[in-house]
């Protein structure tokens, strides 16, 4: 890939004691180019948020490599990570929990601004508030004085303060009202274009991901089941799980057709990541599964534009 920014190779993250080990991320690889947006989708427990926290190195992987601009940051010590911390920033889901209620937004954003004089910091904070569409004069207000959407703007301003090249956004709009979601998505879209920031966008809302992302990776039970350009994934999904996920998303199009779209009904729930099924992990809910699926784990195969891990795709 040209101008590669991030290359995650065979990353594994297990939690808990040996007997009840949760295999949250179990051998995931992905790539992201400078300025690109990659959507990471899947249902709760698929490992998408854990992967996001591994890339930002809020968590250390059990094994695997995370190449950021040529350096493997998977195992770096906190001290050596420091220069990368400003390059890779995170925007969190809950704008109520991720801002310290005792600090003014000026202090919150200021703490992230590169060390300089008090006056320069304040000028930069005011500038950042304006960049994210807030009133620069609100610099001395506390988080509770802002609405949910405004708080998410503060979170974005804090992420921008270090002039990052990569932002990991973990469900950045799912806690917001519909009318506010669209404001925040447009803001993220504008900022990434203006500053050329790459975004790893973790979300469960397939419409939001389609709107925002160049490429999409679908995860299931700690594994990647399909990766491709957004156009490919949304118009020609190959993996049965992706097909089911897309068909399950409630869609306004029934209003036009008058009849509900044919929906793939998945039975049951996602199995436990402590004891995932053998072979293909989706096989227990898959209508195409046969004996092969139980014994052999399918590899990701396909073209540069589109790969899927299924024996029957």
């Amino acid at each position: 890939m040209s101008d590669e920014l991030l290359r995650v190779e065979d990353v594994v993250k297990h939690f808990g004691p040996r007997r009840e080990r949760v295999r949250a991320v179990d051998g995931v690889s992905l790539e992201l180019a400078e300025g690109q947006t990659l959507g990471l989708v899947g249902e709760s427990g698929c490992g998408k948020s854990t992967l996001g926290r591994l890339v930002t190195r809020l968590l250390a992987p059990t094994s695997g490599r995370i190449h950021y601009r040529g350096t493997d940051i998977a195992r770096l010590t906190e001290r050596r990570l420091r220069p990368f911390r400003s390059d890779i920033q995170m925007v969190f889901q809950d704008p109520y929990l991720s801002l310290n209620p005792r600090h003014t937004v000026g202090a919150i954003i200021g703490a992230a601004v590169a060390r300089s004089g008090e006056r320069e910091t304040r000028t930069r904070v005011r500038e950042l508030l304006e960049v994210v569409g807030l009133d620069a004069d609100h610099v001395d207000r506390y988080p509770h004085e802002f609405s949910g959407g405004q708080r998410q703007r503060v979170g974005i301003a804090r992420a921008l303060a270090t002039r990052p090249r990569l932002i990991v956004a973990d469900e950045p709009v799912s806690a917001l009202d519909v009318s506010i979601q669209a404001q925040i998505m447009n803001l993220l879209q504008d900022l990434r274009r203006e500053f050329g920031i790459a975004v790893l966008f973790v979300a469960h809302d397939l419409g939001v991901v389609r709107y925002f992302c160049d490429r999409v990776t679908v995860m299931y039970l700690g594994k990647v089941v399909e990766t491709g350009t957004a156009q490919e994934i949304y118009t020609r999904p190959r993996h049965p799980y992706t097909q089911a996920l897309l068909s399950a998303a409630p869609d306004l199009s029934v209003v036009r057709t008058g009849t509900p779209r044919p929906r793939i009904r998945l039975t049951g729930d996602v199995p436990s990541p402590v004891d995932p099924p053998s072979g293909c992990r989706f096989r227990t809910r898959c209508w195409k599964a046969d004996d092969l699926c139980a014994v052999e784990e399918p590899a990701l195969t396909g073209t540069d534009e589109h790969v899927a891990a299924c024996h029957h795709a």
Partner: protein
């Protein structure tokens, strides 16, 4: 089949102290139909639903207007009568099954108790009935799972348990408050199918409260859009979502990226929903609306528009000929357009 509606809400107002959560709300749901109530946080959609079930604390809440369920007036009903109504003729499903089920009791015990509260039957008969309803909502090996505790069920299965408990006395009215918001999409689809099946099978009146227009499109016959405690538009789902008449409904449609296509750019509603303590004058939506100048003078700022319309669709807006504005100015922005046309 428009007989007397099973649920009729007339001029309902719900106030907490001097904060009005719901104002002049009216709607009706006949048996066998599903109404979706849509709105953002603070729109009053949940406060209105709780009033229908008589669940507000009378010491802190002032409720005026009328709510009739199967002909019985709920506003001002005695607590004993309300308890008899809830769980039998009317039942409610909440967003978070985790907090609505008691963690110390098995689901079998909880469902059986809900049955015995309204029916003089033996424990054994109640248990058998509990197994029956668990099976009906699609829980595999229902009889064996009676002795499991809530934490032993997954999120989707717990929501099924909640629905089973609501259905144990065959209610004629089911109110579901964001029943799928906490669930993953594939499980959400299962629960929506289940609610639709149950309505068909038992012919109940169903009210679904949601913020998700996709859910509305999939499940509801009729839709009511709330903003700042008031109904701003209501009517058949195909009309309201296909050719909406209120600028707030337009804004919601313009804010949603759909799975089916990639829009060039979303056009969000500017600003935030108003604080219920300090509602705007006139039309509550006017500070965020694009059209007050189009209306001329200061009507939008000064006067609350009436809920008016033709036939079964009503809308609360001063804008003349909203259908033309929608077709000419809004529809072209909604992707390929035909997505939303009737």
């Amino acid at each position: 089949m428009t007989t007397t509606p099973y649920l009729a809400v007339r001029d309902l107002t719900v106030a907490f102290g001097d904060v009005r959560a719901v104002s002049d709300l009216s709607y009706a749901v006949p048996l066998g139909r599903t109404l979706a109530i849509v709105g953002e946080s603070g729109s009053g959609k949940s406060a209105a639903a709780l009033a229908v079930m008589g669940l507000h604390d009378p010491a802190t809440t002032r409720i005026t207007g009328s709510v009739t369920v199967g002909g019985a007036e709920v506003v001002g009903m005695a607590p004993a009568e309300l308890r008899a109504l809830r769980g039998s003729r009317a039942a409610m499903v909440f967003q978070d099954p985790q907090s609505a089920l008691h963690p110390y009791f098995t689901v079998g015990a909880q469902i059986a108790e809900a049955y015995r509260a309204h029916n003089a039957v033996s424990r054994r008969a109640a248990r058998a009935h509990a197994a029956d309803v668990l099976g009906r909502v699609g829980i595999p090996a229902a009889r064996r799972r009676l002795d499991d505790y809530p934490h032993q069920f997954s999120g989707g299965m717990r929501q099924r348990v909640m629905i089973a408990m609501a259905l144990v006395n065959d209610p004629k009215l089911l109110i579901a408050d964001e029943p799928t918001t906490a669930l993953d999409v594939t499980v959400q689809a299962q629960i929506l199918d289940l609610i639709a099946d149950l309505r068909r099978e038992f012919g109940s009146a169903v009210v679904v409260i949601t913020h998700d227009l996709g859910v509305v499109a999939e499940i509801a016959d009729d839709v009511l859009v709330m903003y700042a405690g008031r109904c701003v538009e209501r009517g058949p789902t195909r009309t309201v979502l296909g050719a909406p008449a209120h600028p707030y409904t337009w804004g919601l449609l313009e804010s949603i990226p759909v799975v089916a296509e990639k829009p060039a750019r979303l056009r969000p509603i500017p600003g935030s929903p108003p604080n219920p303590r300090t509602p705007p004058t006139g039309c509550a939506f006017h500070p965020r609306c694009r059209y007050p100048e189009r209306v001329g003078d200061t009507a939008c700022r000064d006067r609350m528009p009436e809920l008016t319309g033709d036939g079964d669709r009503l809308s609360r807006c001063h804008l003349p000929r909203p259908d033309q504005v929608f077709r000419a100015e809004v529809l072209p922005l909604l992707g390929t357009g035909d997505q939303h046309v009737r």
